[in-house]
């Protein structure tokens, strides 16, 4: 049995390569059928905001990568409820909102964790 991996993505999509790299790790893991989870917290929750326009800053859109999660068998996608609330965002349908305590329990359930 492969070790399970939780990736915590906590950078905004426009602040550097971290957001894209976190997604790449998750998609690569999914391609190899690893048990993998993805949690958006802190500014990482901004990746889930709708109708962003990457072209305006001459960058590539992350939304296609996000939509690929399902295709790669990544169903365990979570979002920090606290991080959404302090930014005035409502949790999107594609991610399961978790309380701080639930996130603590989530980390316990995985063998390894990577925070980017």
């Amino acid at each position: 049995m492969s070790k399970s991996l939780l990736v915590i993505s906590r950078q905004a999509p426009w602040s550097g390569p971290s957001a894209r790299e976190a997604l790449d790790i998750v998609l690569a893991g999914g391609a190899f059928d690893l048990p993998i989870g993805l949690l958006f917290m802190d500014d990482g929750v901004f990746q889930l905001a709708p109708h962003q326009n990457a072209k305006a800053v001459q960058q590539k859109d992350l939304s296609a990568n996000l939509q690929a999660l399902g295709l790669f068998g990544i169903d365990d996608v979570f979002v920090c409820r606290h991080s959404m609330a302090v930014r005035g965002l409502t949790p999107p349908t594609e991610a399961q909102p978790l309380s701080n305590e639930a996130i603590s329990e989530l980390i316990d359930r995985y063998d390894q964790v990577i925070t980017l």
Partner: protein
């Protein structure tokens, strides 16, 4: 299951330590290194009641006093901690 959270950013200019404390479990511990050692001056770290370690050389370099609620470790101690805890979560 226990996690060792490694924080290397100052809590006074960065949200990593705050977020870490928010989701820290009762069995977890926090290891401060680099500018993370300035976390020894953060009252929130003490009041949370979580086990705190600091890398001795980073603390000494910054001339930070070791509070009675934290323990200092050297690099072999850091390695031992990463073995003692079930997993290591480095807040990159």
């Amino acid at each position: 299951m226990s996690t060792l959270h490694v924080v290397s950013h100052s809590p006074f200019s960065d949200s990593r330590l705050d977020s870490c404390l928010r989701i820290c479990g009762t069995e977890d511990a926090i290891l401060l290194c680099g500018d993370g050692a300035y976390g020894l001056h953060a009252p929130a770290l003490h009041t949370k009641g979580v086990k705190v370690f600091v890398l001795a050389e980073d603390m000494q370099a910054r001339n930070l006093p070791l509070p009675d609620w934290a323990d200092s470790v050297d690099y072999p101690g850091f390695v031992q901690l990463s073995i003692d805890y079930d997993k290591v979560n480095t807040w990159l």
